[in-house]
């Protein structure tokens, strides 16, 4: 039992916020004071139903305009799991926000309005979740109440979506279809009486049944050193610990390791978490490691197991998602932050732009705008130690910083 992070994707008015509100309401996760506020505001607006989107839309402008501007995080738990939902908006900056939400999620819910069916936006939502290699995708066909809970309509949408699936790159992604009405509560938490033709699980039943180990991304262990701990106290005079988080797989006391980039070899002597010693540092644990030998290690270096080296190179090809209002141009200079490591980078070439609606690629491109996705070649001023994104979600990704504004301008997935 752990935390499941879920990203949501849908176009404006597909009912994302309503679906999340419904999940909260039906799992009794809304407290009385929050519920009271929703009842009061719904009444003020003259609705004859409870507007659950009010449970998530937070900023003044969002409530005024009835839209979601920024990624919001919503928390709820059941007896068996804790959930964090990243509610990402469906309008202009959707690509940027969806990529962001999907980057930390193991599952995604794509909403489709049953009246509209699979639209261009749906292609994009699916493309992005597939690009980010989100393991588990749930296609919630919403507003079934507005199409008289028609099985025919649902099956037609499903067939259209299956067409899309044949075009995907990451074929192991698991996809589940569920007919729902977020507004009325059909098949969200409770099984609907209106869809006797649907024998599958409700949305919550499906989420509850997900095996967290199976939806996590496992690769080979990588240990980027965040911070060197040297207490210089009498008691710990010679202590030299390398603090960091373990990604991909586990490390053990006695493992033979290589320090990158110096390529020095040593062996793991101790694994500490606070003042306790452990035999194993599992994936995603923040530990402190000491080595058998006096090795020169500083922030940005990486410990890996001998015989399990990543690629060490000053150039790379990556699929990037551009997120800044200033365009990326061929020849442009940026800072690449790979994990905790920062290097200078130059855009060697934009190989092609990828239309995220599966309509193909565009060559001879010299610049990228916000929300563009493209394959680019980068030259770096120093080597980094990377894996391919398909093999290692953490060590295969990086962010691009604009050194004039310091903004996070894009994200890359290494090919």
């Amino acid at each position: 039992m752990e935390v499941l992070k879920i990203a949501t994707a849908g176009s404006v008015d597909d009912g994302k916020s309503t679906l999340i509100g419904r999940l909260l309401y039906d799992t009794k996760s809304l407290t009385d004071d929050k519920l009271e506020a929703i009842e009061k505001t719904s009444k003020q607006k003259g609705y004859d139903y409870l507007d659950f989107s009010l449970a998530t839309d937070g900023l003044i402008a969002e409530r005024e305009q009835g839209i979601t501007i920024d990624v919001a995080h919503i928390y709820f738990s059941t007896a068996s799991k804790s959930y964090i939902i990243a509610d990402t908006p469906g309008h202009v900056e959707y690509t940027r926000n969806m990529v962001t939400g999907a980057s930390t999620s193991q599952a995604a819910i794509i909403l489709i309005d049953a009246r509209k069916g699979v639209i261009e936006q749906t292609n994009r939502h699916f493309f992005i979740n597939n690009l980010l290699r989100v393991k588990e995708v749930i296609v919630a066909v919403n507003k079934m109440d507005l199409v008289d809970f028609s099985e025919e309509k649902y099956n037609a949408i499903k067939a259209d979506f299956e067409q899309l699936m044949s075009k995907r790159d990451y074929a192991d992604q698991k996809i589940t279809f569920i007919p729902v009405s977020a507004l009325k509560g059909d098949n969200v938490v409770d099984k609907s009486q209106n869809t006797p033709w649907y024998n599958g699980e409700t949305l919550l039943e499906h989420l509850e049944g997900l095996d967290l180990a199976a939806v996590s991304n496992v690769g080979t262990p990588r240990f980027p050193v965040q911070y060197v701990i040297r207490p210089k106290t009498e008691e710990h005079h010679d202590f030299r610990g390398f603090a960091g988080k373990v990604y991909g797989g586990e490390l053990n006391v006695g493992d033979d390791v290589v320090v990158l980039p110096s390529m020095t070899r040593s062996r793991i002597k101790n694994i500490y978490f606070h003042d306790q010693e452990y035999q194993t540092a599992p994936r995603r644990s923040s530990v402190t490691i000491t080595l058998e030998d006096e090795v020169n290690v500083s922030r940005g270096d990486m410990l890996v197991k001998t015989g399990d080296l990543p690629t060490i190179d000053k150039q790379l090809t990556a699929t990037i998602s551009w997120m800044d209002s200033d365009n990326l141009t061929t020849g442009g200079k940026y800072v690449v932050q790979h994990g905790i490591n920062k290097v200078l980078a130059k855009v060697d070439a934009i190989e092609h732009k990828i239309h995220p609606d599966y309509s193909g690629i565009e060559e001879n491109v010299s610049s990228l705008q916000m929300n563009d996705i493209a394959k680019v070649r980068l030259k770096l001023n120093k080597p980094i130690f990377y894996d391919r994104f398909k093999d290692h979600r953490t060590n295969g990704s990086f962010i691009i910083l604009d050194s004039r504004t310091n903004n996070t301008a894009g994200v890359g997935f290494i090919n």
Partner: protein, 315 residues
Amino acid sequence: MDTLLEEIQNPNTLGLLNRPNANALEHEAIYIIREVAAQFEKPVLLFSGGKDSITLVRLAQKAFWPAKIPFPLMHIDTGHNFPETIEFRDKLVEELGVELIVRNVQDSIDEGKVIEETGKYASRNMLQTTTLLDAIEEFKFDACIGGARRDEEKARAKERIFSVRDDFGQWDEKNQRPELFDMLNGEIEIGQNVRVFPISNWTELDVWSYIQKENIEIPSIYFAHPRNIFLRDGLIWSAEDAVVFRAEDEKVEERMVRFRTVGDMSCTAAVESHADTIEKVVSEIRESKISERGARIDDKRSEAAMEKRKQQGYF
């Protein structure tokens, strides 16, 4: 030597029933705190004496052991704090051997930078912002670690882990940096600072469960105790402290109460409770039908009270 994996994967070892993930969240928070120490020149931990900042201190202790916490703590003292929290603060700082900086809202008032509120709902909560921003400028802090959580309040649900503030300490909610995977971008210009929220993804119950698991000492007002109170607007106000304005027709009575959140005395209401141990508090929170900030008088001011305060540079 037992295995950390067991703790992460099999949270039953933590003795938690409903939110068993405190451990994964703990590792995430420690990673964030280490990034602060590595990426910034002058970080500080904002310490209020409340349970969230006490939790932060424990996490920071774990992050750097066996070395000391490599940054000071700072308390923006409204002068209206519960005496129990101040006592607690001084004891904790002494045990940790870290530097404590205290800056007083009273000084900002005396210097004429802010004007004390008057009337029934007078509070120094809003005034803290000025004192905080002045202190950041005085010490040239480039990162302030705070205990805010996304589950607390609507505007906080939109907050980043590394949240950039401009020269005026302001939060531009519509222009926030995307945060991808685990990567934290702490690049700023001189004059800007970053507010860092390592326990962003924790819920109130996660915090309490962690306090229980780690056996962390917290101020006594978090536990049920008899107190003279009066009722106003459906909230329980403490009648024992001169700083809380009470009208003559607001009748005082003694009840068993505890504080679920501890802010300034003038803006924190109590809740009726018999939970006098950490175990009882955890089960009370688990059963609760009212959100934590339901007892924050400062949030009751308007639907968007927190968002407006944050734009002005509040925590």
